[in-house]
Amino acid sequence: MADLSRDTLRETVIDAILAVAPEADVDALPPGRPWREALEVDSFDFLNILVDLEKRLGVSVPESDYHELVTLEGLLDYLESRLAA
């Protein structure tokens, strides 16, 4: 999974979100805005998305890192760093 390009990573994340919130309009998401509130993803959905990402990317996000995942870009950066490690 090492050299996953950013675009494919973005697609994977969006798929994970859509799996839980099928009618979420991720593209219309203004950059830099907290995606959970915008897409009305409650704590349950968020947990399910993390479970999905762990399956897809093998990355298990500890609770202490949740604050880094507030924006979509933040989430992607975090995942990239974890994958690169």
Binding site: E23, E37, E40, S43, L47, S60, E63, S64
Partner: protein, 401 residues
């Protein structure tokens, strides 16, 4: 005493026409008996001799009772022989009229219709359909004769994720008219709630740092799939607070409060694409953390697939709504009739908080209670809210270790 007529039950012996010791022939008139229709001659059907007269003149004797003892030819009078040997008639008696005593009056059926509250006017077909759909018809407005609820009303309400009612399955994106129908059903319930329930509201902000610390520590070494989410703690706290103040857990129906037997808080679940349902989490007070998490996960999944059980739609004695998830600081909810309370949790935000005289930044949230003033007063509501916040601030004591 012979039966001398269809409706004769007894007769009065007027006159004996024979004396003890006399001979009698078959068909001989031996006595005169007074009946309600007049005096009638009584015949003897066997020849013989009069041993003794049992009934006295003027005595009223029921049909079948012995009047006299006649000895057939050659029969000796033994001691007190059995009364006249006439075979007791085996032909079935006409069913004897029931004992004349008054049977106890039927227990007064407890009136289904309470004195003040009107009985729900709903057609049998609509009531049956509502049961099939697991729909609580109380909130549905009637378009039928006299404002009664009809089949169409139920069918329309069924298309709507009306509170206490399963929503359309997530795959089928609700069509526009379904959304309209959903809106109408929620409107009906909320209008009724506002119309009938005298709400009072209480709120309290509490610091949740200890709870969150406990949660992070609990989740630290667990894979994502086994982690707990904060609502689990909130529901636990609500369950424990209800044990202290049971008056907030039940229903107001037919003019009286009916306490719920168990602690089954309704969990407000927002459905994708709009609509809301608040199925009951059964026995929330008895679930260990992981069991409650599993129960919540299952409830959420079934809610979104429109496969909730009818008991889950009617068991909740109060509802917990967690709009905090969606970034709102405080919630002043509207109670779902016929429940008597609604707990609202706001969003967890970092706020200035005074601790030991120092102002620090701490993650806090606003907890609110909306309650039915017909059932409880502010004092009782406040006690509940204090219990709730105390429990949340001592997470390690939420569950017995």
């Amino acid at each position: 005493m012979p039966s001398l007529g269809a409706d004769m039950e007894s007769g009065t012996l007027v006159e004996w026409l024979i004396r003890p010791g006399e001979r009698v022939e078959r068909g001989q008139v031996v006595a005169v008996v007074e009946t309600q229709k007049g005096a009638i001659d009584v015949e003897i059907w066997e020849a013989g001799s009069v041993e003794r007269l049992v009934a006295e003149e003027g005595q009223k004797v029921p049909v079948g009772e012995v009047l006299a003892v006649i000895l057939a030819e050659g029969e000796k009078a033994e001691g007190e022989s059995a009364p006249a040997d006439r075979p007791t008639p085996e032909a079935p008696r006409a069913p004897s009229p029931r004992a004349p005593g008054l049977s106890p009056p039927p227990a007064r059926a407890t009136p289904e219709v309470a004195s003040s509250g009107a009985r729900l006017r709903i057609s049998p077909a609509a009531r049956k359909r509502a049961a099939e759909l697991g729909l609580d018809p109380t909130g549905v407005s009637g378009s039928g004769a006299g404002g009664s609820i009809t089949l169409d009303d139920i069918e329309r309400a069924a298309k709507v994720a009306e509170p206490g009612r399963a929503a359309p399955s997530p795959q089928a994106a609700p069509t526009t008219d379904a959304r309209g129908a959903m809106r109408q059903a929620i409107a009906a319930a909320m209008a009724r709630s506002k119309r009938e329930i005298p709400h009072y509201y209480l709120g309290h902000t509490l610091c949740v740092e200890p709870a969150l610390a406990w949660l992070e520590a609990h989740n630290a070494e667990r894979p994502v799939a086994e982690r707990l989410i904060f609502p689990v703690l909130q529901l636990r706290a609500v369950a424990l607070a209800l044990e202290a103040v049971p008056e907030l857990n039940g229903w107001y129906r037919d003019g009286a409060f009916q306490p719920a037997e168990g602690v089954h808080p309704g969990v407000a679940i927002a459905l994708r694409g709009g609509g809301l349902v608040a199925p009951a989490l059964h026995d929330a007070d008895r679930l260990a953390p992981d069991a409650m998490m599993a129960a919540l996960r299952d409830l959420l999944a079934r809610a979104r697939q429109d496969r909730l059980r009818s008991s889950e739609l009617t068991a909740a004695g109060l509802t917990v709504t967690n709009l905090g998830d969606l970034g709102v600081e405080s919630v002043q909810g509207v109670i779902y009739p016929p429940q008597v309370a609604l707990v609202g949790f706001g969003r967890i935000t970092e706020r200035p908080w005074v601790r030991n005289g120092q102002v620090v930044a701490a993650r806090c949230l606003h907890a609110s209670l909306a309650a039915d003033h017909r059932v409880t007063d502010g004092a009782l509501g406040a006690r509940f809210l204090r219990q709730l916040t105390d429990h949340l601030q001592e997470p390690e004591r939420l569950w017995p270790t």
